[in-house]
């Protein structure tokens, strides 16, 4: 791994104490769901009552994510 210490030092930043974490391809979840948009999917994507629920959930998700991330 290339040393990035000189770069941090030159900018006066505290060098973080970390170890390189190798990317894990095994996180206990089956990979690669093969996706196909089925007629059932299309029904739910346009079923207005369900989509109204999804509209509320999406708004809440976005607002929560905005709050969750660092508020600068």
């Amino acid at each position: 791994m290339e040393s990035i210490e000189p770069f941090f030092k030159s900018f006066g930043t505290v060098i973080p104490d970390f170890a390189y974490v190798p990317m894990s391809r095994d996180i206990g979840i089956q990979r690669r769901l093969v996706m196909e948009i089925t007629p059932k999917d299309k029904f739910w994507m346009n079923f207005k009552l369900y989509q109204l629920w999804r509209f509320i959930v999406l708004n809440l998700k976005i607002l929560k994510a905005v709050d969750h991330s660092k508020r600068s």
Binding site: E2, F55, S69
Partner: protein, 480 residues
């Protein structure tokens, strides 16, 4: 009294101006210089481009808003910036008269948006004898609409046309906008009853469909991982849209797009109608020192984007493992009273995996810094300027490797049977240290779904953001 100048009035510059005006406008002098006298809600130009929204619904005049916010507005294009201490000013050219205007500053926010580098690909674009369409400016979107409607008429008469939509340069960005456009074209062609007469091709420099310049998005769904590649490929298959990725357009002639791909193969694709996003570069402003010399190397990189507090020159692999190399305050390291926001700042590198083929052509989707990201950076920069004036030190920092972004990609604007893909991604730039999974993102926050609720979201975003950007009551509550 301090003088703050904001160059540009797009998502980033206008957001910065509103915060500066609201916090400093009464005691200090805040000036916006923009070559457009309107604010433009660019995301809706996709709909303008298919004739589904009137162009005037996407813009409003800036001056009345700035008058209310104690902001001075100059309708001019900035040509020069003189950043050396003791004599700091910008020189612009007034839009109506061409007369030069000089504006001094104590703090400068550079947020003029991208230069649309159509010249980077010979034959690209609608101007200067080019052969493709664009939705990157309002006049272009209107022209695209007219050309698209003319193509519809030809198809209604039975002609079969090939429509190629995507990116027009090996280093282009903004794949999301092009994706929205191709899907809206598909939906409109279906409504017009001519879909069978159109062959649609997605042509892009992404490593894979659904990359969007952010290395794709992974979400957990029903205990399984789903990638944006699988998701978007499923949409393309369902809609009968063909795709060709890992491809950089190198030249366009009448009816023919020339390209090179990852494998170094060169080829051509015929087309009847095309919309290709150009490469973005920094605006070509001159940076002149006190002695009259060129000081651009202290302010911008080779592409004209403003250097900020990121760590530049790292290889992709090193950058990927060091998300803190992304800038957080967006302050220029050589002139600490200059900030850059939105597309104007120089990213330290790509988010998606870059590729150089055997012929030496770099085909690499550039990192997107539009929309929500632009607005957040505009706010951070404005609040940092406020801090420096009121406290003498900055207290606002947000890297793209910390930022959440929500994106709603329109797939048909009808509130009855339209659709959109709603994506939430955290963070924008993967951070494998904080999130040690394959994607480097928070799988509890990441989200991707499609449905008419998304179309309602997109519609709501248009009107709520127009409300926000007009600085109407409650504008600060609406997140960037």
């Amino acid at each position: 009294m301090s003088k703050i100048v904001v160059v540009g009035a797009g998502f980033a510059g206008h957001t910065a101006a509103l915060y500066l005006g609201s916090k400093l406008g009464k005691q200090h002098e805040v000036t916006v210089i923009s070559n457009r006298d309107v604010f433009a809600y660019i995301p809706s130009w996709v709909w303008v481009g298919v004739g589904h929204m009137a162009p005037e619904k996407t813009i409003f005049k800036l001056k009345p808003v700035y008058d209310r916010m104690n902001i001075k507005f100059i309708h001019a294009a900035v040509k020069e910036i003189h950043p050396d201490a003791g004599d700091q000013f910008v020189v612009g050219e007034r839009a109506e008269t061409g007369e030069a205007v000089r504006v001094e500053y104590d703090y400068l926010v550079i947020a003029p948006g991208p230069k649309l580098n159509f010249e980077g690909t010979p034959g690209l674009g609608p101007d200067g004898g080019g052969f493709t369409n664009s939705i990157c400016s309002l006049p272009h979107a209107v022209q695209t609409r007219d050309n698209y409607l003319a193509a519809i008429e030809r198809m209604k008469k039975g002609e079969k046309l090939k429509m190629v939509i995507g990116t027009g340069h090996p280093g282009a960005t903004c794949q999301g906008a092009a994706f929205e456009y191709i899907i809206n074209v598909h939906k409109d062609l279906v409504k017009q009853g001519v879909r069978e007469n159109a062959e649609l091709l997605w042509l892009s420099n992404e490593a894979a469909v659904g990359d969007f310049g952010v290395h794709g998005i992974d979400v957990k769904q029903n205990g399984k991982m789903l990638s944006s590649q699988e998701f978007i490929e499923a949409i393309f298959k369902d809609y009968g849209i063909k795709w060709q990725v890992q491809t950089g357009v190198t030249k366009v002639e009448e009816g023919l797009i020339h390209w090179e791909n990852y494998a170094g193969e060169q080829g051509s694709t015929a087309f009847d109608f095309s919309m290709l996003i150009p490469q973005f570069k920094g605006q070509p402003m001159k940076y002149i020192g006190k002695d009259g010399g060129d000081v651009s190397a202290k302010v911008v990189n080779a592409a004209g984007f403003v250097l900020v507090d990121g760590i530049y020159g790292l290889s992709y692999d090193v950058l990927k493992r060091n998300p803190d190399a992304w800038p957080s305050s967006y302050q220029n390291p050589n002139y600490n009273n200059i900030f850059a926001a939105g597309i104007a700042f120089a990213p330290p590198g790509p988010i998606s995996v870059p590729h150089t083929n055997k012929n030496g052509l770099a085909i690499s989707a550039a990192p997107p810094r539009t929309g929500m990201v632009s607005g957040i950076i505009g706010r951070v920069v404005a609040l940092n300027v406020v801090d420096l004036i009121t406290k003498g030190r900055m207290t606002h920092y947000e890297r793209m490797s910390e930022m959440v972004a929500a994106c709603v990609a329109s797939m048909g604007d009808s509130l009855w049977d339209g659709s959109a893909v709603t994506i939430v991604m955290h963070p924008v730039v993967p951070d494998e240290k904080r999130f040690p999974n394959e994607s480097g993102r928070d799988l509890f926050v990441n989200h991707m779904e499609m449905g008419v609720a998304g179309a309602w979201m997109k519609f709501m975003l248009h009107y709520t953001f127009m409300w926000k950007f007009k600085a109407l009551p409650g504008w600060k509550i609406i997140p960037e």
